[in-house]
Symmetry: C2
Subunit: 348 residues, 2 copies
């Protein structure tokens, strides 16, 4: 089932020769960050994760150096959030073009510092190289008290599905940047949901960040926990209103804000049936309002109410599109619109 | 004094906006890896470091996927070695060209796995992206028992200067690869000096790996500890014999094997006067023979016996060359040869 997804196959291909550390508590695919037992320390585990900002720069989705710096930190902090970790810091390896202007470099570094400050964490170190294209790799390190980590596996049918916040902002921003570079009317500067992730530890049955968009996230949770998800009738109220408006202005159906690959860096998580009140009590303490999206079901499919009926989405096709369109965003968007067209015509 | 070196100025420029973590035990420049106190654990500290393989690939020094994978691990493990850490593992972020052949990918991953096995460690995780050029970033994590870490600071005049093993192999390999791509008769596949680094903990006054070559390493140690180094008359016996031969065949004076920027990934370290016997006892236990290169002196210069006299090397000029020749290796080598010519003529 995992192998129906091109990205999962690629991950297997890249990792199949690697031996696994006996200290590593998570299996491949199972968690947003790697979880490690420390020698001589039973009360704390380490979480570590690495993520590069490459394609977003190449495609022009990120063109502002400040945002690039901010995101190099946040994509990694978001992975720490999804496992309930408290950040210790981040290392940043930068590849700078030989002619990179000092003002851009200063903005890039300010974005990195501001994102760290927003997460109450620090740059610990890094590496600087010169190359043809700007490229940033962050590696974030954190700790988790006790051994109760959040993972992507463990959801049961009947569990409620939630998001930490409104959805669709990542894809709306990407759409605008690709169509009208540099003129996006939306502010895209997500903050990792670290407090929310720590709050979910011991309450949520699964958790994963939406870095690849909501539908990819649901699809991955489905494959790992072998459950499906039924999205509520009123899901559109959980879309970011300005993103929905922007999609409308571009003639893009609003559900595609969940389908695109440029996520909003919220967390999706599931809550066992008898724990929903525990979630709300804990959330209230940090002034947070989780958004209920639907529930987990036996049948391993994603059911989304669309055009007056319940559509069983071909999430495999939707996820794999990003790997089949050779980085051509025009072709990618048209392929998504074709799926929408098929759904509207009832051919789906 | 630190600011005379272009690389140090670049590091300051990149990091000057960053706040420093209160958990971080090392200052900027002072150690090969970042050293962190863990919450609730007084008996162990973490070491973490990140390094990318970019320029070596772009220049053609590394053209074999297996070696590229091997080095992505070893450059980071070498930094852990230099602080006396025991590796917990590594994360590898890969940027692959869209058309990267499966056989090359398999060789790359085998190089990564073999290097991990050689260091008795593991790949913990990673990230895969697609881009125009192959590029690897590793981030290695380790632990240090107690708080006795090795750093680049603390050498006193009179301390003995040592290397973990023979020198010059990194620059001989780079010279050959750039001049006759793919036809190098030398085997270059360094192993991080992890056992030696741990042995040096509590004995050495400073330690640094030679990833940027011997002279750059000596120059950095000199600036950080405010001492100079006097190299012994018989230093040439510590050069790798085949590398010396190869340099000779290329008409390159053998001391330039210490001057070039592509290091051999040995450790350079200093031993207080009354601790040399402690070093030899400890080294014997792991079957290792440290090589004595010279000693630290008051005057902040690097003194190298050359052409029948003692030359006070302009290490600032030598180090900065790599940043002033715009990645043109021909110009770089000729600039080094010009320095040798000046020394031979006694103009230096």
């Amino acid at each position: 089932m995992m192998n129906a997804i091109i990205e999962n196959v690629l991950i297997e291909k890249v990792t199949n020769q690697f031996h696994r550390s006996p200290r590593q508590m998570n299996q491949l695919h199972e968690s947003d960050a790697e979880i490690l037992k420390l020698p001589e320390n039973a009360n704390q585990v380490l979480a570590i994760t690495t993520d590069s900002i490459v394609e977003e720069i190449a495609l022009g989705v990120y063109d502002d150096p400040y945002l690039i710096g901010w995101m190099a930190v946040m994509v990694n902090m978001s992975d720490l959030a999804a496992v309930g970790a408290r950040p210790l810091g981040i290392l940043v390896s930068e590849v700078l073009p030989g002619s990179y202007p000092d003002t851009s470099l200063a903005a890039l570094q300010r974005g990195i510092q501001d994102a760290c400050a927003a997460c109450q964490t620090y740059v610990l170190g890094g590496d600087t190289n010169f190359g043809t294209h700007l490229m940033l790799t962050g590696t974030a390190l954190g700790t988790i008290d006790g051994s109760r980590t959040l993972s992507r596996v463990g959801c049961k049918p009947g569990d409620a599905l939630y998001a930490t916040g409104v959805l669709g902002g990542g894809n709306a921003f990407a759409l605008s940047q690709i169509t009208r570079p540099g003129n996006c009317i939306l502010r895209f500067q997500p903050s990792a949901r670290l407090n929310e992730g720590r709050t979910l530890t011991g309450i949520a049955s699964t958790c994963m960040d939406t870095s690849d968009g909501v539908i990819s996230t649901l699809d991955q949770l489905m494959r790992l926990s072998r459950v499906g998800f039924e999205i509520d009738e009123d899901w559109e109220k959980h879309l970011d209103p300005r993103s929905k408006e922007l999609a409308g202005a571009f003639g893009i159906p609003s559900w595609l804000l969940l389908a695109g690959q440029h996520g909003e860096f919220e967390l999706l998580f599931t809550i066992p049936q008898n724990s929903e009140s525990m979630l709300h009590d804990a959330a209230e303490k940090i002034g947070w309002h989780p958004l209920r999206l639907g529930k987990a079901v036996e049948e391993q499919s994603i059911f989304l109410p669309l055009y007056g009926r319940t559509v069983n989405l071909d999430t495999q096709r939707i996820r794999n599109l990003a790997f089949q369109t050779d980085g051509d965003v025009g072709v990618y968007i048209n392929s998504l619109l074709k799926i929408d067209d098929e759904i509207q015509k009832g051919a789906y």
